[in-house]
Symmetry: C2
Subunit: 317 residues, 2 copies
């Protein structure tokens, strides 16, 4: 049995590959670019674009577990090109699943706790209606429904995790993904940050180690009565609270620019994570302050002036 | 203000065009084929494939009301080609809506009460989760979510009607749509009918006049607090009950062949239609027996031996 990680070069993918390899699993990572610099030696890398579903499916053997971490774009970008994700990620996912549904042991899909629900009051259980305010969120929900269709039609064993806002080392905020990473990089490089709205927007930020442990639990759990699970820290924090923590770590105020809120940003997402606790025997275990410290150390190392200078001259430290 | 009917040549489309024209509205019907033979004189016909979204959008003027009746394939066919509807109907709908969202007065979308819910016990309100057992149902739900996204982002005024199983004259059972039409035609032509399962499958069959009145109510209602409404007769009938009624009308037993149930057929769909009653001031008014009689008369006229013979010789009656 091998672990196939689709999107192995992304933020979650890199951490998941490292965790699975450390636990002794055979890991095949698939990404559209070349391998990450620090790919563990016992992870094999396959450079294939996900739209080449036949080639991707060729990597999947009988009894393998597939981790689908291919996210498409971002909520903001998806609304600027509202058919891009559907014609690429969603259709490729359906074509891929059609090829592997009958032979995989399980498929674990990383969905989005922050976008599938949209604007709703209260603490959201998985049964809350889906009212996404972005094409990104719609497409995550559409993939969930297709996975359930393949369960019904062809017996696909799947689990979809509606992960809240993950953060941690290696979240290189391409496409403005991950406000914590973006703000930490700005703190290190002393560049200004843009705060949409008044900073009162709340998110459930979850440390990457807790995300990975949830994905591993979803892959290994013998039974999945509900199949779709919220994965979060169980606590909401405002953007202003994030800023305060980062300023405490860096010892200096961030250079903040406040701009009007973006229409796809929901004011608050509070996820009920009790179903995952009961059915996956999973709990978030990371301490906020310690997780933020570890993350900040990585950004300091990655984006400090010294390292920047070395990159420019091409010398290693 | 004009009424634009996308899918004007289909079963619901033809009845809707006739009703709107009779009420004095300017009607522009759009279909991929030529106009139906009995198109009312004051309905203009525009032959455009829906994938040509720019040409379709060109027919929509400021303040027009758009009726979107383009259904894609059928539940059964959609599962045999699970990306066909998404790449055609769903993507075309998004591209079309992106072009007209800011200028239409309202868009009324005919969704599917029989497929968006999937297999669930009890009487289903609109808040019940979507668990479709066909790509057809998933795609209907995906379009609903995109319409709501365009409401959120661009102020689109829309209404989605989750219509149960419609029946009535002119339902030419292409692609095996509409079991009542298929069985009535078989009764007239004395050909065998295939009954999937034991005939105990239940559906909420709604007469076409009630469907049209619901669509007209959705277009004209000043406020739409909920936007998504179940539209059904409020009663379930089994396939065997349908057969009994048809046999009563024809005076002869149908030649039935029972075959194993199809996997996409849900055993029962019971729709709660009270929300439409409250918010659209709409009620189904048609009597089952009278509606079945009217429908059977049409099938007799359409498929009787005399007419068949005339078709063969090319002479008119």
């Amino acid at each position: 049995m091998a672990a196939i990680v689709l999107g192995g070069g992304g933020f979650i993918g890199q951490h998941l590959c490292a965790s699975l390899a450390q636990a002794g699993h055979e890991v095949r990572a698939i990404g559209r670019s070349g391998p990450p610099a620090d790919l563990p030696p016992n992870v094999s890398w396959h450079q294939v674009d996900f739209t080449q579903t036949e080639q991707v499916a060729d990597q999947v053997g009988s009894g393998d577990i597939v981790f689908h971490l291919i996210g498409g774009s971002t909520p903001h970008a998806s609304n600027l090109a509202p058919t891009a994700d559907i014609t690429q990620t969603v259709v490729s996912t359906i074509n891929f699943v059609a090829r592997i549904a009958s032979r995989v042991r399980r498929l674990v899909f990383v969905s989005s706790g922050g976008t599938v629900y949209g604007i709703q009051p209260g603490i959201l259980a998985e049964t809350a209606p889906s009212q996404p305010t972005s094409a990104y969120g719609i497409n995550k929900r559409t993939v969930e429904m297709y996975l359930d269709l393949y369960r019904h039609l062809h017996g696909l064993d799947y689990c979809a995790l509606r992960v809240a806002n993950p953060f941690g080392p290696k979240q290189l905020n391409r496409h403005q993904q991950g406000v914590i990473g973006a703000f930490m990089r700005a703190a290190v490089e002393n560049t200004p940050v843009t705060v949409w709205g008044d900073g009162g927007i709340e998110r459930d930020f979850i440390y990457i180690d807790d995300v990975v442990s949830a994905i591993v639990a979803a892959a290994g759990s013998p039974n999945l009565p509900s199949r779709i699970y919220n994965i979060g820290s169980g606590r909401c924090r405002s953007i202003l609270e994030v800023i305060t923590t980062i300023e405490g770590l860096s010892g200096a105020p961030l250079r903040k620019t406040f701009t009007p809120g973006r229409i796809e940003d929901v004011p608050s997402v509070r996820l009920d994570i009790s179903l995952a606790a009961r059915e996956l025997d999973w709990q978030p275990r990371c301490d906020w302050q310690a997780a933020m410290e570890q993350t900040f150390e990585w950004y300091q190392h990655e984006y400090s002036g010294q390292r920047q200078a070395c990159r420019t001259t091409g010398k290693s430290t």
